[in-house]
Each structure stands twice: as structure tokens, then as C-alpha cells.
């Protein structure tokens, strides 16, 4: 009885405010969706063009739905001699996986040193590390190439793999920030118990930084997959080409078969999308698990 009295006494203006709130929510969704459409139209165009027969690629007015849907475009593009997909994929995976392994292995060690150990010159060295993150890569490009030439490593995958076993500024920074947030009592207790630093690192700290390692691995994998300059200057034989070089060469060899070219592009992009969607969950889980913000 008392409840219904309260309800009758509620301010009638509130109903108007509720309506206004619904309208502004409507506007919000409208604008969000309009922008999303603008952003995603190129993606949509990429996908449907890859499924179109050639005579529907350039029509006036544009064809928004391919008819028939040519899945065979993918077969044609990926088996065409101009785009030997499986070899390109194998090459890409080869150096990308090795490079990512290198980054994960080296940067966890190095970041642990910066975060949990103390040594003379540590802050200065870390400052230098941060500044190299801002260093335009252009200035190291040529001498590094000359160096690898001198080693005899040009024409191989070595320049794309070996440097990453020695660290990478951005990943060191990321992991170091993460290491710092781990509880100090754990390591202090272990040190008091006489554990060696390496034991502390491998048995205690490493299992705790898995989320950050995942982030580093995913980011580096994607970056390497997309990188053009590295493979472009160091790989000379077209049988060594990764997907990214195969794609950029595709256009000069295949002229204007846009539908096949879009299919080839999709084959290079799609794994990244899958990886992103899979990893997204880990990012969130990882952040939630550790209560860490800002990674």
C-alpha cells in the first residue's frame, strides 16, 4: 500500500526526462553506427570484391552484393603462380615465430633486470632505452644493413630474427612496467631463503607475467607479419618472400585482376583478425587476473 503511494507521488516531469534520455541514447547509437559504417565500408568492399566475378568489380552503379559468390577466387588467387600462398605463409611463419620467440625470451630477462634488480647505472640505461623508442629508425637503417652485409647475412632470414634475441626497447619497457607491479614480498622472501636470482626469475616471476608475455608476443607477431622494410631489404630470392612481399609483388605481376588481388589481401589480413579476436579475450582476462591497469 505504501509503495503505490510513493509511485503516484513521483514527479511527472521524470517521465519526460526519461524520454529525453532515450532520445539522446538513440542519437548516440545513430552516430556511433554511422561512423562505424563509414569505417567498415572499405572492409566490406574488400570482402565482397574478393568474392566477385571480374565483370562485377567495376560497375556503375556499384554492385553491393556479388552474384554469384565466387569462392573459387580464393582458390585461383592462392594457387596462382604469382602468389604462392602456402610457401609465402610458411616463410612468414618461420621468421615471425622465431623473431617473436626471441623477443619474449630476451625481453623478459632484460625487463626483470630493470624492474627487480639493482645495479650501477640502471636508471641511466633505462633512460637510454626509452630514448631509443623515439629514435627514428631511418638513421640506423643503412649502417645496420651494411653490418649484416659484412656478416654475410643479407639474403637470409638472420637479420630478421637474430636482433630480436637481444631485446627490443618497446617490449622491454612494457614488461618492465609489468614486473614492477608484482609483489616484492615474494622475491624478498625467496632471497632470504637463499634462492638464486635465476631461480626467482624462472620459478616465481615468470609464471606471474604470462599475461604481459602474451601481449608482447601478440603485438610483436602482428608487427612482424606486417613489416615491409625488413624483408624488402634483406631478402633477395623471391622463394624466400613472406606474405607481405608476395602481396606487394602481386600487383605488378597480376595487373588489374582486382577480385583476385582482394582475395590475396584477405588471406594476409584474415589471420591477423583471427589472432586479434582470440587475443582480445586474453588481454581482458590477463588484465583482470592481475588487477593491473594500463598495460
Amino acid at each position: 500500500m505504501a509503495l503505490s503511494n510513493v509511485r503516484r507521488e513521483r514527479n511527472p516531469l521524470l517521465r519526460v526526462r526519461g524520454l529525453r534520455k532515450k532520445l539522446s541514447l538513440g542519437w548516440t547509437y545513430l552516430i556511433l553506427s554511422a561512423v562505424a559504417v563509414i569505417f567498415l565500408i572499405p572492409f566490406y568492399w574488400l570482402v565482397i570484391t574478393s568474392l566477385k566475378p571480374m565483370d562485377q568489380v567495376f560497375t556503375d552503379p556499384p554492385t553491393w552484393v556479388p552474384d554469384p559468390i565466387l569462392w573459387s577466387n580464393y582458390v585461383d588467387a592462392l594457387t596462382s603462380p604469382a602468389f604462392p600462398f602456402f610457401r609465402l605463409l610458411k616463410n612468414t611463419l618461420f621468421y615471425t615465430v622465431l623473431s617473436t620467440t626471441g623477443v619474449v625470451v630476451s625481453c623478459t630477462f632484460i625487463a626483470y633486470g630493470f624492474a627487480r634488480l639493482d645495479f650501477w647505472g640502471k636508471d641511466f640505461l633505462f633512460g637510454v632505452t626509452l630514448s631509443t623508442m623515439m629514435l627514428p629508425s631511418i638513421v640506423t637503417l643503412i649502417p645496420t644493413y651494411v653490418l649484416f652485409r659484412w656478416f654475410g647475412w643479407t639474403g637470409s632470414y638472420a637479420p630478421l630474427i637474430v636482433p630480436y634475441f637481444f631485446g627490443s626497447a618497446f617490449n622491454i619497457f612494457l614488461l618492465r612496467q609489468f614486473f614492477i607491479t608484482l609483489p616484492w614480498e615474494l622475491t624478498d622472501a625467496a632471497r632470504v631463503d637463499g634462492a638464486s636470482e635465476f631461480y626467482i626469475f624462472s620459478r616465481i616471476m615468470l609464471p606471474l607475467v604470462k599475461p604481459a608475455i602474451l601481449v608482447v608476443a601478440v603485438f610483436h607477431f602482428m608487427w612482424t607479419w606486417n613489416d615491409l622494410m625488413g624483408p624488402l631489404i634483406y631478402l633477395e630470392d623471391s622463394t624466400q618472400y613472406p606474405l607481405i612481399l608476395g602481396l606487394s609483388a602481386f600487383q605488378t605481376r597480376f595487373g588489374v585482376e582486382w577480385n583476385l588481388m582482394m582475395a590475396a589481401s584477405m588471406s594476409v589480413v584474415f589471420p591477423l583478425l583471427v589472432l586479434f579476436f582470440l587475443a582480445q579475450r586474453y588481454f581482458i582476462e590477463g588484465v583482470v587476473l592481475t588487477g593491473l591497469k594500463g598495460v
Partner: protein
């Protein structure tokens, strides 16, 4: 005076303090330092081999004539002389990169900020939109460039079809000297806004709601709140995106390389109509890896590096005036 010193201090104490200074505290310190260095050792190697040496070598190579097949030959400032006074393509590439950066940097900032503002709302499903806006930046630049080359086809590409539908004239895009760089900028805005937007979004979320509410109580409307609450607190993020944006834009390579490639597979011909796509990095790449003139390429790299350092330093200095850090501190 014959004075024999009586060592009143017990020998044990002396011995113990000697031990401490040799094996004890200081020994532990040495071990501690060694352990630390052991862990970061690979990075020190990397810094020396892949950062310090290249930077020094860059100076050296830029003053040589070096074609890889023959040892470097010292030429002093000759490369710079040629670059700045005799090479018609050099200033063209500078103009192209500056034009591109001048358009791309502000546009990317504005679009990223606009998107972040849009995403900074607590509505159901905002995560879906955030993913949608971020998706383009996942594409490899090469693939995105190919896609846009297709969309921007002057005769029957989707973009020109859209322009025609709006009653606007068709544009030549990558086939026209005037519109080829804007075409690159359009690509850059589409695929580059992703991570900039995330940085702005993170910064926006840090702005305490209490500040907005206080401003509202004082009677500020949405625009005023934006100008006097949001923007000042965003200046660190704006500063970061601005500096990184400039550094990235002057080094743009992949999109120009792929766009120019259609007309020229050997890398020798005109990069785009009237060399309008010949950005700085593309010319440098040609000198270094097509003509194998490492000296010339190094000179170009050094020149750009110096310019970028100067610009960065100027921006950092100016940031003291317009970047506001929460907690009262002034930037740098």
C-alpha cells in the same frame, strides 16, 4: 717521542670490519651489480651493435661514396652538397613528405580525438564500436594500400562513385599529381587513427567525472566543458600523439612504395604522376637499395634525423607552455 700504540680495540673487531669491507657488504654489492648486468647484458649488446654503432657509422657513411661492392671512399661533405644543391629530386621529396605530414598529422589527431570522444560513453555495446573503429589499423599497410588503390580508382572506384552520387566532381586520386598525396593521407587517416584513438580514450577515461560535474554546476555547457576541462587535461596525450605522428609521417614508406609501384616495377621511374608520390623515405630507399649509393642514402638519413631531433626538442620545449600535467608539474 717514543710512543708505542696500544691497540685497545680488540683484534676481533678489526678483523670483522676488514672482512665486511672486502667480502661482506661490498662483496654483496659487487655480486648484485653483476647479477643485474647479467640479466640486461643482451640489451647492452643490442644497444651497442644496433643503436650506437649505426648512429656513429651513419655520420661516417654520409661522408663517403660507398657502393657496397667497393670499400667506402671519403668525400667529405660532397654528398650533402649534391643533395642540397644539385639533386632536383631531393627537394621534391622533402616537399612531398612535408606536404604529406602537414595534412596527415593534424587530420589523424582530429579524427582520433573525435573517435575517442564518441567512444567515451557508457552505453551498452560500446566495445563493439571500439573494435569496429580499431579494425582498420590491424591491416598491414601493404594490404590497406592495395585496397585503397582499388577504392580510389578514378574511373570506377567506389570513392569516385560516391562523389558522383553526391554531385561532386570525380578526382584523379593516385593518377593525378595534385590528389595523389591526399590519397595517401586518406589511407593514413583510415588505418592510422586506431592506436591514437586508444591513447586518447585512455586519457579521456582518466579525467575525473567530478571536474565535469563541477563545471556543470558552474553553468558550463558541453562546448565550454570540452574547451576548458577536457582539452587541457588531454594535452599530454595530444603532445605524445603529435610527436609520434610527426616522426612517423616523415618516415612514411610502405603506402608510397606500393602506390608508386604500379607504374614502375624496377624502382627507377617516376613515383606517381610527376613524382608526386616520391616521399623522402622512398627516395632514400632508391638511393640505398636500388642504386646502392649508401653514402648518399646515409646523408639523407642523417639530414632527416637532425630535422626530427630539432623538431622534437622544439616541441618538448614548447610543451612547457601548453601541456598541462595533473598534479601541477610542468612538462619537462
Amino acid at each position: 717521542m717514543n710512543k708505542t700504540f696500544n691497540i685497545d680495540v680488540p683484534l676481533g673487531t678489526v678483523r670483522r670490519s676488514l672482512e665486511r669491507s672486502i667480502h661482506g657488504l661490498s662483496g654483496r654489492k659487487i655480486r648484485q651489480n653483476l647479477t643485474g648486468y647479467l640479466f640486461v647484458f643482451p640489451w647492452i649488446v643490442s644497444l651497442i651493435v644496433f643503436t650506437a654503432y649505426p648512429m656513429i657509422a651513419s655520420f661516417y657513411f654520409s661522408m663517403t661514396n660507398y657502393t657496397i661492392l667497393n670499400p667506402p671512399r671519403w668525400v667529405g661533405l660532397h654528398n650533402f652538397e649534391v643533395m642540397l644543391t644539385k639533386d632536383p629530386l631531393y627537394w621534391k621529396s622533402v616537399y612531398n613528405s612535408a606536404y604529406y605530414a602537414g595534412l596527415a598529422v593534424p587530420l589523424q589527431l582530429i579524427v582520433a580525438l573525435a573517435l575517442a570522444l564518441l567512444l567515451n560513453q557508457k552505453v551498452q555495446g560500446i566495445g563493439f564500436y571500439r573494435t569496429a573503429y580499431y579494425l582498420p589499423s590491424l591491416m598491414p599497410t601493404v594490404a590497406a594500400t592495395l585496397l585503397w588503390m582499388f577504392l580510389l580508382d578514378p574511373r570506377l572506384g567506389l570513392v569516385n562513385a560516391g562523389l558522383t552520387a553526391l554531385g561532386l566532381p570525380r578526382l584523379g586520386w593516385l593518377r593525378s599529381a595534385a590528389w595523389s598525396k591526399p590519397a595517401l593521407v586518406l589511407m593514413a587517416v583510415w588505418s592510422g587513427s586506431g592506436w591514437r584513438m586508444l591513447i586518447f580514450l585512455a586519457a579521456l577515461k582518466e579525467i575525473p567525472q567530478a571536474l565535469h560535474e563541477a563545471a556543470m554546476i558552474d553553468g558550463a555547457n558541453a562546448w565550454q566543458r570540452f574547451r576548458f576541462v577536457t582539452i587541457p587535461l588531454l594535452t599530454p596525450a595530444i603532445f605524445f600523439n603529435l610527436v609520434m605522428g610527426i616522426i612517423d609521417s616523415f618516415q612514411v614508406f610502405a603506402s608510397a612504395f606500393v602506390s608508386a609501384g604500379v607504374s614502375d616495377s624496377a624502382g627507377m621511374g617516376s613515383a606517381g604522376p610527376l613524382n608526386s608520390l616520391l616521399v623522402y623515405m622512398l627516395l632514400l630507399y632508391r638511393y640505398g637499395f636500388r642504386y646502392f649509393e649508401m653514402g648518399q642514402a646515409s646523408a639523407m638519413a642523417l639530414a632527416l634525423f637532425v630535422v626530427l631531433v630539432v623538431v622534437t626538442v622544439l616541441l618538448v620545449k614548447s610543451s612547457g607552455r601548453w601541456v598541462y600535467y595533473e598534479g601541477g608539474g610542468r612538462g619537462v
